[in-house]
């Protein structure tokens, strides 16, 4: 059952002279919930943005379904299967909640409007936002926006969903509602790759944790391995600061 779906091979990324990612190797299996943790500037968001090709890696390969996507001409096909949820939501400001969730279905997947609305409503319901279909993004709270953004990504029925610090821009009160939705998704078997500062989420929901520092993967393993028996001193240092601090 351990079918690998997404694989990073010797991935590197430089911005000018600055090497942000160095020789990143790791594999995401189908149904995995992988959390990437690490301090700010460790390259974890860049890694996730590379995974969606919002940044172009400067070396290495990203293998999806057995194909290196970096050599593919069009990114569109790949992105339809690998969704992304952003820290700053990025809902389309010129559309209401429903349109935000249907526009990908109608314009990218060429699904008829009626059918698209049905699909969108189903996912909006699953994140508890179906009552807000007529609202515009600026009329929603941060937590509501993020739940709509999750519904928008889900509506495309992706094989993998990437989360780039989905709760970092939220008020403490609203973090919970988004994490609850994410927990439900994890339970449903969705393959998720999550960059997060929520250590409790990583510990309780992930089945794999990756710790990054200064552009390299320092350590990876199960939550028990990372949180209870970290092997590397750098991991121990980071965890002692984030969990006790």
């Amino acid at each position: 059952m351990c079918k690998q779906i997404l694989q990073f091979c010797h991935l590197g990324k430089t911005f000018g002279d600055h090497q942000v990612l160095r020789d990143i190797n790791f594999t995401v299996n189908k149904g995995d919930v992988t959390c990437i943790i690490g301090s700010s500037g460790s390259g974890k968001s860049t890694l996730l943005r590379c995974a969606n090709l919002l940044e172009t890696p400067t070396s290495g390969e990203i293998i999806f379904d057995g194909k290196n996507i970096l050599t593919e001409k069009s990114h569109s096909k790949y992105r339809q299967k690998v969704g992304m949820v952003f820290q700053s939501f990025n809902l389309f400001n010129n559309m209401n909640v429903l349109q935000n969730c249907t526009v990908g279905l109608t314009s990218v997947l060429k699904i008829k409007k009626q059918e698209a609305e049905k699909i969108a409503l189903r996912y909006l319901e699953s994140v508890g936002m179906s009552a807000y279909v007529n609202a515009r993004p600026h009329q929603l709270s941060g937590g509501q926006k993020q739940r709509v953004a999750i519904a928008r990504a889900l509506a495309m029925q992706p094989e993998v969903l990437l989360f780039d610090e989905p709760t970092s821009a939220l008020d403490p009160e609203m973090v919970g509602e988004v994490l609850t939705v994410m927990k439900d998704l994890a339970k449903s078997g969705l393959t998720m790759l999550v960059v997060t500062h929520e250590m409790a989420f990583a510990r309780d929901v992930a089945n794999k944790v990756v710790f990054m520092d200064e552009g390299v993967i320092v350590e990876e393993g199960t939550p028990e391995e990372i949180f209870q028996n970290p092997k590397e001193p750098r991991t121990r240092e980071f965890l002692s600061r984030t969990i006790n601090g």
Partner: protein, 260 residues
């Protein structure tokens, strides 16, 4: 009070001339602004295309960029009155002295002149859109042109509408320079009326009033359009039976829906 009477006489006697002038002025201003805006949108979209990987395509894109920059700079950097003369008589020169239809010439000149300004206005509108809007669209698999037409251009248009209204108003007034090629817009008509009444002041005052009424009406209409584009301030909740939503809504610090 004598001149008021004279003005009244001018309105009464030459109203059909004035109306014709108003008609042509508005025609050329409207067409020029719309075509100019379309040109601006096309140029703005082209300029934001990410650089292609392929060497040949990149060179092609560079050349296109260069031509568009030249177009914008030349037409912004020279007076429209001069452009009108150059285009009108240039056409006649290469066509053995046959001149272009004056109406067509006027429409073309104002359109491409406005296009040069609009290109910059639209570019400003596009770069004012948060990068996250592009990324959100790319992330669900939209291509660059889908992203532009569905997400970015609609938002840019809303943002640049005040500048577009401004261009429209400028066009209503500046079409007066087309009198140099014999375009029978409002100012041209005024000149003709003066030759008959010999009352320069009253004629031009009447025309000034007409110009002002035109521009003022247009700005009010466009302000109304802006408000329409912003949509309703409130929204209605749908399907109150969605227990999840209600449960979530109760945990919200900011409640939605009933803030009338």
């Amino acid at each position: 009070m004598n001149f008021l009477q004279k003005m009244g006489n001018i309105f009464a006697e030459y109203y059909d001339w004035l109306l014709q002038g108003v008609g042509y002025t508005m025609l050329v201003a409207l067409v020029g602004t719309i075509v100019g805006l379309l040109l601006g949108i096309l140029i703005g979209t082209y300029r934001t295309i990410p650089n292609p990987q392929n060497k040949f395509l990149r060179a092609l894109k560079k050349t296109g960029d260069w031509i568009l920059t030249a177009y914008v700079e030349v037409f912004r950097g020279t007076p429209m009155m001069v452009q009108a003369m150059v285009i009108f008589w240039g056409y006649a020169l290469v066509n053995d002295g046959n001149t272009m239809d004056v109406i067509v010439a006027g429409l073309i000149i104002v359109s491409i002149n406005t296009g040069a300004y609009m290109a910059e206005i639209v570019r400003g509108g596009i770069i004012s859109i948060d990068k996250g809007q592009f990324e959100g669209a790319y992330a669900i698999g939209m291509t660059h042109s889908q992203t532009m037409w569905q997400v970015v251009i609609p938002q840019s248009l809303r943002n640049i509408l005040p500048s577009v209204s401004n261009e429209f108003v400028i066009n209503i007034k500046d079409t007066s320079v087309l009198n140099v090629i014999g375009f029978t817009e409002l100012f041209f008509q005024a000149k003709t009326i003066v030759t008959m009444t010999a009352d320069t002041f009253a004629t031009y005052l009447a025309v000034a009033i007409i110009y002002f009424v035109l521009t003022f009406t247009i700005t009010r209409i466009l302000r109304f359009v802006e408000r329409k584009m912003d949509g309703k301030k409130n929204y209605t909740m749908q399907g109150a039976g969605n227990l999840d939503a209600d449960a979530y809504a109760k945990t919200q610090a900011i409640g939605g829906g009933n803030n009338v």
